[in-house]
Structures are given as structure tokens and as C-alpha cells.
């Protein structure tokens, strides 16, 4: 099962996301001694809600990172051919695929309901006498080990029991380790541990039951829906973070410069963001993506495997989303910088002859960091939601790359079938909703902690 013979593949988006992780880690590592920041973060994490939502977000991020470690499997050399050259599969696999243990490789012919044994639609078959009959076909990868179909529910119960036992054991290990390390802590870690235990049990159950059944059924192409939903996590998380990463340098540089230097710099920056924000966002994004698509179509030789082409389009989408959405953050930072540069300590620094660079770096930037942080968290959920809409319009993620938007787009008419095919939509809905809800709730907490004036949540009571 676990072949060691593989060639690692570093997609551009993988490189970018690991770079982002390093940047964020250094950022927080450098902030760790700042008493004000510590106090604010401890306010976020001293609530149970903060712990729970943060854990959920981390689970998603973890899955996304596992899904970003790509490689190409070595193919077994054809029988009878002696060769020292190793050929690699054209399909790019990720560590997550390995951990899901072939969940994505068990295809059916077409739709099947969750945990079903037979296909959803009738098809032509031959019975044992060779007569043509029209009936529901048995699925290829569901319940093949059962003696009779009636055994399904007892078998499921048994599988669930075993999976829960293993899951609880694994959870006990993970949580126990943290308990040893963190039991004296003042933060409500138990809330996080509860979530971790639930997630671990769920994942163990999902992977083990998926061996024998399709937990969320299959879609029109016969792919496992649960697998697709899990693959959508990477796309959602990466899009939400990388777009912001692209947007931040532009917004911060222009905003700080406009607020600090004023005069014609301010005029130019204001003109730029007013112009940009007056264009209907969706049209600008659509136009840019279409133009990039034309470019890809006309230069197909730039990309070695299909995945790289999809990845190029994905990165282009991140860049386009970032380049078209910096105006609101820029406006906020400009206003804040205007305010700060009037303050006494900045004036004093001027009087002492401190250079512009030093004033910007020491006095202005650290004081707008909280705006950047709030925007980062706030934008994340809206970008995840935007991906679905863009994919529906046809300017989103490449259809060959799994994403919730593509799932919804493919399944949007399935509810009007009779009986309705609900599981594709349900899968996309559940995984997307959990992430966006957690991110929204967490961003509320962060905003309350870092910007008490915002007045949302409990502070207004």
C-alpha cells in the first residue's frame, strides 16, 4: 500500500502556502513578547467559543496542508520488460490521498445514494440466462464483502463500533499528551480537546467505513462525494489565505504611503482605489479570469501535467482576487495612518530628525497591524464563499480540481431529479458551512479583542 518509490511534486500553490505558513509563524513568533498582543490573544482564547472555532479552523488548515504535499507514484515496469528507468504516474497524489487509503480511487458508474449497495438509476444488464433486464446495478465498491444485503446495517454497526473504539483510543492518545503538557493552563483547553476527539473519531470512522461503502454516495461521474468534499478543503483554505496574501502588500504599502506622505501621493492612491472599486467586482474578476484562460489555452506547452494547468489557473485566480480587492483595506489603513501620524510621538520623532523609513517601520506599521489581522480573518470566509459563486459563473477553479464550488455547480439541477439527489449538495454544504461558520465566529472574537470599538458581540450589551 505504502509505496516509497515516488517523486515529490511541488506545485506553485504548494510552495506559496508553505511560504505563507512560515511567514505567519515568524510573524507570531516575533509578536510573542508584545504584552498588548498577548493580552488580546488571551482574550480570544479564554472563551470556549474561541477555542472551539480555532480548533476547527486548524483542522481544516491541517487537512489543506496534508493535501498540499504532492508526489507522483512510480509505475511498476511492464511485465517482461527489464529497464532501469522509472516511470512516474501522470496523476498527482497527495499525502491526504494516502491517509484516506484509496477513498478517491473507488469509482462507480454513476449516482449512488449514501451507504447504498445498488446504483441509483436502472441500467441494462444481463441476468444469468443471458436475458436483457433493466434493474438497479450492484455497486462495485459497496458492500462486496457482505453475504446478503440484509447484513448491511448490522455490518455498519459493527464497523462503526470498531472505528469508534480505534478513534477513541487515538483521541485519548492525542488529548492525553496535551493534557500532560497543558493541564495547569488557565485557558479552556477542554473545549478544544472535545472538538479534537470528535474530529478524530469522525475521520477514523469515515476512512474505515469508506473501505466498504460510499458514506456520502457517489456523484454523476461515480466519484465518492465524501472524498470530493475533503479535497475541496485545500482549495477553499488556500484560496482564502493566498488571495489575502497577494492583497496585503499592495494595500498596506499604498495605504501607509497615502496616509503618511499625504499630498500628491495621497491623491494618486485615492484615485487608484476609487477607480478600482467603482468597477463591479464580479465583472472585473470574470474578465481577468477569462483573459487568463485565453492565455492558457494558447500556450498549452507551459504545463507538464494537467494538474499544473489547473494549478496555474488557481494561482491566477488567487492573484486576481487579491489584485481586485485591496481597495477597502487600503482605505482603512490610510485613515488609520492619517490619524497616527498626527499623534505626539510621531511628531516628536519628526522633530528629532528620524528618517521616514524608521518612523514608518517603528511607529506606523506596528499600529496598523491589528487592522491587517482583522481583515485577514474577516476576508477568509467571504473568499471561501466567493469561490463557490465564481465557480458557478464559470470563472472559478478549474473543473479538474476539486472544489466545493465545482461540486455545487455540477449538482445544482440534481435536486429536481425524481427522487432528488441531495448528497452532493449536502456534502459540499456541510464541509463549507463548518469552515465558514468557524471562521466567521472566530473573526468576530478577534475583532472584539483587537478593536473594542467595533461594538459587535457581547460588548454592546
Amino acid at each position: 500500500m505504502w509505496e516509497l518509490d515516488a517523486k515529490p511534486v511541488l506545485l506553485w500553490s504548494d510552495a506559496l502556502v508553505f511560504m505563507l505558513v512560515i511567514v505567519l509563524c515568524t510573524f507570531f513568533y516575533r509578536l510573542r513578547n508584545d504584552p498588548q498582543t498577548r493580552e488580546r490573544w488571551s482574550q480570544v482564547f479564554s472563551s470556549r467559543l474561541g477555542m472551539v472555532t480555532f480548533t476547527i479552523i486548524m483542522v481544516y488548515v491541517g487537512i489543506a496542508l496534508l493535501d498540499s504535499l504532492h508526489f507522483r507514484r512510480a509505475l511498476a515496469s511492464p511485465a517482461g520488460v527489464e529497464t532501469t528507468e522509472v516511470f512516474y504516474d501522470n496523476k498527482v497524489t497527495s499525502v491526504l490521498d494516502l491517509m484516506l487509503d484509496g477513498m478517491g480511487d473507488r469509482y462507480e458508474r454513476t449516482y449512488s445514494a449514501p451507504l447504498a449497495l445498488k446504483s441509483f438509476e436502472k441500467s441494462d444488464m444481463k441476468d444469468e440466462h443471458g436475458n436483457l433486464v433493466r434493474d438497479y446495478e450492484w455497486l462495485e465498491h459497496a458492500g462486496r464483502h457482505l453475504a446478503s444485503p440484509a447484513d448491511k446495517w448490522p455490518d455498519l454497526l459493527r464497523l462503526t463500533g470498531i472505528a469508534l473504539a480505534w478513534g477513541l483510543a487515538a483521541a485519548a492518545l492525542v488529548v492525553g499528551l496535551q493534557w500532560v503538557l497543558l493541564r495547569g493552563s488557565a485557558y479552556p483547553w477542554y473545549a478544544s480537546w472535545l472538538v479534537q476527539a470528535v474530529v478524530i473519531c469522525f475521520m477514523v470512522w469515515l476512512v474505515s467505513v469508506s473501505h466498504y461503502y460510499h458514506v456520502l454516495g457517489t456523484d454523476q461521474g461515480g466519484t465518492d462525494v465524501a472524498y470530493q468534499s475533503l479535497k475541496g478543503i485545500r482549495t477553499g483554505v488556500l484560496l482564502g489565505t493566498l488571495s489575502t496574501l497577494v492583497m496585503l502588500p499592495i494595500a498596506v504599502t499604498l495605504g501607509v504611503m497615502a496616509g503618511y506622505f499625504k499630498g500628491w501621493v495621497d491623491d494618486v492612491v485615492q484615485y487608484l482605489y476609487t477607480t478600482l472599486s467603482s468597477i463591479p467586482g464580479i465583472l472585473l474578476i470574470a474578465a481577468s479570469v477569462l483573459l487568463f484562460q485565453v492565455y492558457i489555452d494558447l500556450n498549452p506547452d507551459y504545463f507538464a501535467v494537467g494538474m499544473e494547468k489547473a494549478d496555474a489557473r488557481f494561482i491566477a485566480l488567487c492573484f486576481i482576487l487579491g489584485l481586485t480587492s485591496w481597495s477597502s483595506l487600503c482605505r482603512l489603513i490610510r485613515a488609520e495612518t492619517l490619524k497616527i501620524s498626527q499623534l505626539g510621538y510621531v511628531q516628536a520623532a519628526h522633530a528629532f530628525g528620524v528618517s521616514h523609513r524608521r518612523i514608518l517601520g517603528r511607529h506606523i506599521l506596528p499600529n496598523v497591524v491589528h487592522i491587517i489581522l482583522i481583515t485577514f480573518v474577516l476576508d477568509f470566509s467571504s473568499l471561501v464563499l466567493a469561490e463557490a459563486v465564481l465557480s458557478y459563473i464559470g470563472v472559478g477553479i478549474d473543473p479538474s480540481m476539486g472544489s466545493w464550488g465545482n461540486m455545487i455547480n455540477d449538482a445544482r439541477t440534481e435536486l429536481s431529479l425524481e427522487p432528488a439527489v441531495w448528497w452532493t449538495l449536502a456534502g459540499a454544504f456541510f464541509f463549507m458551512f463548518m469552515l465558514v461558520l468557524a471562521a466567521n465566529l472566530f473573526s468576530d472574537l478577534v475583532r472584539d479583542a483587537f478593536d473594542p470599538r467595533s461594538g459587535s458581540g457581547r460588548s454592546g450589551a
Binding site: 467603482s278 468597477i279 465583472l283 477569462l290 485565453v294 464563499l385 458551512f433 454592546g460
Partner: protein
């Protein structure tokens, strides 16, 4: 006041020029007309002759900025930049790549868009204010906290699910309204109920949450404490003191959207089969009709700038302390 409006209108010109330059760069410099022709014609028929033919037919066979072969003013006017971009300022949108007149299309498709967008907009604001007021009445209780949680949960559901779910439940399961379609002459309201309902419902989460914040901000002001000290009832405080004052930020927040209502909603219109500008844009994007996309970008920007001016005017109207200068 008039001088101010005129100044703002003049200020809009450079912005529109900027929008124009940006779209021009996107459509003609980043991708040359040759690339566009190749992708429009499809892979099979790409011969240099076919490309030239397509460019001539759609008027892309001119130089970008300067036409050296022409004389006099035509050096500037007989170019792609002039015929495709500058003419937009005269509201001359030209023809789409499928040969239809864009101006006629826009003016007929505007009204179905408005028929959906206007009721959704008005009803949405009204419902959001009512819900937010109800929540504010229970401020500080656990009901308030749960309401905020529900708002956030509603916000976290993708817009697509509201539409798909609404169509499934209301139209397919309960069979109350048609699933989609539009008929301007025969009972149009029947086709409008569901789109309006879906857009109002999907907006409650973020809208009511925002209005609640505004109301709470007002509830912490001194004049509210004074009113309470004076012995005014909670209901009177809410409706006579908090509501009118909170309406100012609400008003100025939504006025900017009013002109853009003409543009309609991309998703609503495409799901419900409403022949408005939203579905027009979506079709243009899907068929890669850049002439339409270019025109709609221009119209959208004009409407947005118009909305900004309206916002400033509404400030003075709602809050007499604000003077425009």
C-alpha cells in the same frame, strides 16, 4: 449644493477615464485581438485568414492607439481605442460579438432586473430593521446572544444554497410558485415571489447583524440615558430615539447601492431565468463576449459613482449638521 454636485460630476470624469483605460488594457493590450480571435474561433479553424476575417468583421483590424496610415484627426479616431473605448462615453456601446445592438439589449433588459431588485432591496431593508429592532429589544439576554449566533450562521451559508434550497422547497416540494421563468404581461408577480423571498432571506444574516450593531451603538449614547431618566418607556426610546438616529448610517450605507439595482443580480436572474441585465452579463461571460462585458463594466462604474454622489446628498438631507462644501 449645486456647485458641489457639479464638482463631483466633474470629479467622476477622471475615474471613468481610469476605468476605461483599465478595461482597455485588460482587453486589448494583455490579450491582443489576435488571441481573442483565436479563442473565439475555436482551435480548429484558426488560420491567419480566418483571424483577419474575424477581426475585420468585429472592427478589431485597426491599430491600438495611433493610425499612421490615416490622415488628420483620423489618426486618433480610426483606432481600436477610439472606436471601442472612447465611444462608451457617448453611451454608444456598439454591437456585441454576436451582432446584436448592446444599447437596445440593455434598455430592454433593465426593467426585469429592476422588477426583482427593487422589491428585494426595499423589503430586505424593512425586514432587516424589524429583525434587528426585535433583537435589540432583548439586548443583554441570552436570546440576543443566540440571535447573533443565528445571524452569523445565516451569513455562513453560501448564496447558492439559498437559491437551490428555495427552489427545491417552495417551488418543487410545496409547489407554491413556478420554479423559474418570467412573464412581463401575465401575472409577473407570481414569478417574482421566490426570487425576492430568496434574496431577502439570504440578506438577513449580515443585514440584521449590522443594523443591530448600529442600534446598540446609539443605545449607548447620552441622549438615550437622558430619555430613560426622564421616564420614557423602553419602546418609546427604541422607536422615537434610537431608530431615527440609527437610520442615518443605515440610509447612507444603502443609498450607494440604489443606482446599481439596475444591474440586477447575476445569480438570482440566472437561476430563476429572469431576462435581466444580470443574466445578460452571465451569458456574456460564459460566451466570452467581451464587447458586452466592456459595456457593462462602464455602465456599472457610472452607476456606482452616481451612487456615491447620492450618498453625499442623502447625508445633508438626513443629518442637517452635515454641510457639503
Amino acid at each position: 449644493m449645486l456647485a458641489y454636485i457639479i464638482r463631483r460630476l466633474l470629479y467622476a470624469i477622471p475615474i471613468l477615464v481610469g476605468v476605461n483605460l483599465l478595461t482597455f488594457t485588460l482587453f486589448f493590450v494583455v490579450n491582443s485581438p489576435d488571441d481573442m480571435a483565436a479563442s473565439q474561433l475555436g482551435d480548429k479553424y484558426v488560420t491567419p485568414a480566418a483571424i483577419e476575417n474575424w477581426k475585420r468583421k468585429n472592427g478589431y483590424d485597426k491599430p491600438l492607439f495611433l493610425n499612421d496610415s490615416a490622415t488628420g484627426l483620423a489618426t486618433l479616431t480610426d483606432t481600436i481605442f477610439f472606436t471601442k473605448s472612447v465611444r462608451l462615453f457617448a453611451f454608444d456601446f456598439g454591437r456585441s460579438e454576436s451582432g446584436r445592438d448592446i444599447t437596445t439589449d440593455v434598455s430592454t433588459r433593465m426593467w426585469p432586473s429592476l422588477a426583482v431588485a427593487l422589491p428585494s432591496f426595499a423589503l430586505g431593508i424593512w425586514v432587516n430593521i424589524c429583525v434587528a429592532l426585535m433583537v435589540v429589544m432583548f439586548r443583554g439576554t441570552s436570546l440576543d446572544r443566540w440571535a447573533v449566533f443565528v445571524f452569523v450562521a445565516l451569513m455562513s451559508i453560501s448564496y447558492l444554497f439559498y437559491i437551490i434550497g428555495g427552489q427545491y422547497l417552495v417551488a418543487k416540494q410545496w409547489m407554491l410558485v413556478p420554479i423559474s421563468g418570467f412573464d412581463p404581461d401575465f401575472k409577473p408577480w407570481k414569478f417574482l415571489i421566490l426570487p425576492v423571498l430568496v434574496s431577502v432571506l439570504s440578506g438577513i444574516g449580515s443585514g440584521a447583524r449590522w443594523y443591530r450593531t448600529l442600534f446598540l451603538e446609539e443605545a449607548g449614547q447620552d441622549y438615550v440615558r437622558t430619555a430613560r431618566a426622564k421616564g420614557a418607556s423602553e419602546l418609546r426610546i427604541l422607536f422615537r430615539h434610537i431608530l431615527p438616529n440609527a437610520l442615518i448610517p443605515i440610509l447612507t450605507g444603502v443609498v450607494v447601492l440604489i443606482p446599481s439595482l439596475f444591474m440586477g443580480s447575476l445569480l438570482i436572474e440566472s437561476f430563476f431565468g429572469i431576462p435581466g441585465l444580470g443574466s445578460y452579463m452571465l451569458d456574456a461571460i460564459r460566451s466570452q463576449d467581451f464587447a458586452i462585458v466592456r459595456s457593462m463594466v462602464f455602465i456599472g462604474s457610472i452607476l456606482y459613482i452616481f451612487g456615491l454622489i447620492l450618498t453625499d446628498i442623502s447625508y445633508t438631507w438626513a443629518d442637517p449638521r452635515v454641510r457639503l462644501s
